[in-house]
């Protein structure tokens, strides 16, 4: 039995997850470990280690999206896909002067974004 109502995330960060039984790491969180079949309970996290996914990362590819809807108040938004030194990859927003270079090292941090309706969400910012 699981009770999602007790789940109330306290920390403004984005997590990677490590299976304590076999050490395999994931982002985003899986519901089971593909290597050793360990189950993950999202309310307790028991048997899984949560770690902050942030810091240096390598840019794999990027785009600049134009004509944003109301709420964004800017001409364009850049997005990128990165790889962390531990091998995990992530997609998120990108900030750069001019055109970024694929393969360059960036720093991943986490911000809260509220452009879309609903609760603010956590967003990677690669800069």
């Amino acid at each position: 039995m699981i009770d999602f109502s007790v789940y109330d995330e306290q920390f403004p960060h984005i997590s990677g997850w490590k299976c304590q039984k076999c050490g395999t790491i994931y982002y985003p969180a899986p519901m089971l470990c593909k290597k050793c079949d360990s189950r993950r309970d999202p309310t307790t996290g028991k048997g899984w280690e949560e770690f902050n996914l942030e810091g240096p990362c390598k840019l794999l590819t990027w785009t600049r999206v134009w004509n944003l809807p109301e709420g964004f108040n800017r001409k364009f938004l850049m997005f990128g896909m990165v790889e962390f030194p531990n091998g995990l990859r992530a997609s998120g927003r990108l900030e750069a002067e001019g055109d970024p270079v694929i393969g360059s090292t960036l720093t991943a941090s986490v911000i809260e974004a509220d452009e879309r309706p609903g609760k603010p969400v956590k967003v990677f910012l690669f800069s």
Binding site: T63, R64, S91
Partner: protein, 400 residues
């Protein structure tokens, strides 16, 4: 041994803007057309099962349970009816479910009708609704949309294989030339390479959407519907469907891939396309060289190129060279998207898979318009994407 299962009737509306009309009416229009094409509206009483393909009527139109509504609107009660949702591959999935229902012996005649009315909301809202199929925490919440992913994907391909933005424009020129001749296409205007790539105003006419993708690398937002009547060709009921030759479904394959694009070993490799096409080839007992033409899911033109490689029509990284050499034109070695594809015909998400199969049947019957009819085709193949290549259905239809 499954019975022979074929397509006895097809229906399709002109794609474009149907936002003043009710979603269920839009779908029912093509369903009636398919019955009429198969021999008459009275055949609706022979239908054993209805499957409706629709991705997001709940969000676009505040319409849920569209299959229940459709049977009632078409005077088909108490025919069993279910709604099939598989993102932008809902249509091909509905055909697959119809095939499975007949193969399982639970039906001999299945009506598959699919549609989407997206222009009921703004362009951005439509893009946002489609983006809800991505991973909520790791993709959607970041603000990413499908054009954003396609832009990143296109850049990777360009870096790796040396394709240029002009090559993307060449695909669009070919698709629009075909779409201009298709009475069902949303955009029926040809474009020139001068207008969208080479000319002095190309950067304005063909502005960036998600770099390096431009407007002419992206499908429009489109409403529309399409329908097919599937029949067990070995059943007594098949004798009721004699108006048009029945085109046989020779192969169906489908496969899934990781939900998050970044979790693929090589984000440029579309495993689900390759695996689903291999399944379909195996079932049909044929290979890529036997395919006369293909309708490939080109919501972004980069997908047409990638799909044509994963399906075995080109080596990896070589498809854009084939486009340069006109190998994918009508009359080329392997005509791709003779309908104009999603790029010109339009992409009413839930309807697209059925629309592609309608095009296969039109071509195989020799009913396509002059100038875009493939010469004497034997096998047509359709690839329909759900998600960003993470749920793919391949359908092969044969003219026996």
């Amino acid at each position: 041994m499954a019975p022979r299962i074929g397509i006895a009737g097809i229906g399709h509306c002109r794609f474009g803007n149907s936002s003043d009309y009710d979603l269920v009416d839009v779908i029912a229009y093509s369903a009636n057309d398919a019955l009429y094409d198969a021999g008459g509206l009275a055949l609706r009483k022979q239908v054993d099962q209805v499957f409706v393909g629709n991705m997001a009527g709940g969000m676009f139109n505040h319409v849920t349970s569209a299959a229940s509504a459709l049977v009632s609107r078409m005077d088909m009660e108490p025919c069993p009816a279910e709604l099939i949702e598989n993102g932008p591959a809902s249509g091909a999935s509905a055909i697959k479910m119809g095939y499975m229902a007949i193969a399982a012996g639970m039906a001999d005649v299945v009506l598959v009708a699919a549609g989407e009315v997206m222009r009921s909301v703004s362009g951005w809202e439509a893009t946002n609704i489609v983006a809800t199929m991505s991973h909520t925490e790791a993709e959607y919440n970041m603000g990413l949309t499908l054009p954003g992913f396609a832009g990143m994907f296109t850049r990777l391909y360009m870096e790796k294989y040396g394709m240029t933005e002009r090559d993307l424009a060449l695909v669009a020129v070919k698709d629009h030339a075909n779409g201009a001749l298709n009475k069902y296409a949303h955009v029926q205007l040809p474009v020139t390479i001068e207008a969208i790539a080479d000319g002095p105003e190309a950067n304005i006419v063909n502005n960036y959407i998600a770099e390096p993708l431009r407007m002419y690398s992206t499908c429009p937002i489109t409403d529309g519907s399409a329908a097919v009547i599937l029949v067990n060709m070995d059943s007594p009921k098949a004798k009721l469907f004699t108006k048009k030759p029945i085109m046989r479904i020779a192969g169906i394959g489908s496969a899934t891939d990781t939900h998050c694009v970044h979790n693929r070993k090589d984000p440029l490799v579309l495993d689900a396309v390759r695996l689903s096409s291999q399944m379909a080839y195996k079932m049909a007992g044929i290979g890529p060289k036997d395919i006369s033409f293909a309708e490939l899911h080109d919501a972004f033109v980069i997908f047409e190129l990638l799909n044509s490689e994963e399906c075995g029509f080109f080596e990896r990284g070589k498809s854009f060279i084939g486009v340069r050499n006109h190998e994918t034109d009508i009359g080329g070695r392997i005509p791709i998207n003779p309908s104009g594809g999603l790029k010109a015909k339009g992409h009413p998400v839930g309807a697209t898979g059925v629309s592609q199969v309608v095009e296969l049947v039109r071509q195989l019957r020799g009913e396509a318009e002059e100038g875009r009819q493939v010469k004497d085709p034997k096998y047509g193949m359709a690839v329909n994407f759900g998600g960003f290549g993470n749920n793919v259905i391949t359908t092969i239809v044969a003219k026996d």
